[in-house]
Amino acid sequence: MQQIINFIIRNKTFLLFLLLFSISILFTIQSHSYHKSKFINSANFLTGGVYNSINNISSYFNLKSQNQQLAEENNRLRMVLYGSESKKDSVYFDSIQFTSLYKFTPANIIKNSYSSTNNLLTLNKGAKDSIKQDFGVISSKGIIGIIDRTSNGYATVISVLNTTSQISAQLKKTNHFGTLTWNSESPELVQLIDIPKIAPVQVGDTIVTSGRSSIFPKNVLIGVIEDFKLDQAENFYEINVRLFNDMTNLEHVYVIQNIDKPEITKLLDE
């Protein structure tokens, strides 16, 4: 016993080092798996608060480009509103059609990140705005990511620029679907894999979400095909997709809640 205590006292620095090192490795491994980073995330009171107050200042710097973007979106929505003559003279006879399947909540990104391999963003809306895990996040130009963790006032988003992110996507003109991944090489390009060889893929085609995952509605814009090649087994395409969003300059986003999601997940669990 004396020997053991002596050993501990003699090597106390090394043991402390070992203890703290294993704690940090534990946190690292946790952060690599989806939905497990319990303690170390920037959606807590302290870090969220600091980012929020800094964002209050820094949001002025790109006010002009963000205004431009919102004006473009308004313009597009106005065109849709006045362009659809067909429905103007008819009345909804089916009241179920009135209720939308998706609920949108506007939010601001207070911390953006795009240079590491697992990028997480922070939003200034959280559980008190009824935002929960696995809600989708989009901007006016296209897809951004999926909500990971929420605190009372803040939420973190797994960006599409995250090597662990996997989002179901498809070609706009046909219904061939695949998985959207990221190889961490460029913040402008993401990879669409598992598109079957038979699909008519062409450079410049639009990629949209497939609506199969009950996180995103169908036909949310993602990007256009930059180039493509067959994978090693020559059965599926590996497609580089150029994102519509400039992921390095994000401010106003929308969080999407699928109202029917509990029903869908319940059905799938049974």
Partner: protein
């Protein structure tokens, strides 16, 4: 004594905030960021309680991780260089360090450069291998380490020159 404690508390907070609010948003050429918070570990007083020093370095790394959503990679890297610091000091300064007579702001430039460079490169290698976490992408680790190290070393040398007081 009191002065040294308050100076280091001040340094801890300022370096952590500068790191997460400014340095991680530089993204020079897309991915190169300096990690200047290791200046706290580099400039920590030489005569110290080693347990406390190691614990403080861990805490600093964890604070940065908390802001950057990066798990424990900064904590592990900062902790490792804090633990290895005596060895690196002995290597860079030799006899001067063993005789306990030196002060960090009154040493010759060459050995100070060696010291900061070794600390930075060690920190960055651990940081990026944990961040990327895959042996098949070792070239990406080395590339990130090289470019970010150059940036960090230059900034650390400049900052330590600018903020060093002339103690005669």
């Amino acid at each position: 004594m009191n002065n040294v404690v308050s100076l280091n508390i001040f340094r801890f907070i300022i370096l952590a905030l500068t790191q997460v609010l400014i340095c991680n948003h530089i993204n020079f050429l897309g991915y190169i960021n300096p990690y200047i918070y290791i200046l706290f570990i580099i400039l920590y007083p030489l005569k110290n309680n080693r347990m406390l020093f190691i614990f403080l370095s861990f805490l600093l790394g964890l604070t940065v991780d908390l802001f950057l959503d990066s798990g424990g990679i900064n904590a592990a890297a900062a902790l490792s260089i804090a633990y290895a610091r005596p060895v690196i000091l002995k290597f860079s300064f030799g006899m001067q360090y063993e005789h306990q007579t030196m002060k960090l702001n009154a040493v010759e430039f060459g050995s100070k450069f060696t010291y900061i460079a070794i600390m930075t490169i060690l920190h960055h290698i651990i940081l990026f291998s944990l961040e990327i976490f895959s042996a098949s992408r070792i070239l990406l680790v080395l590339q990130k380490t090289l470019f970010s190290s150059i940036f960090t070393i230059i900034l650390c040398l400049l900052l330590s020159v600018i903020f060093s007081r002339e103690n005669k």
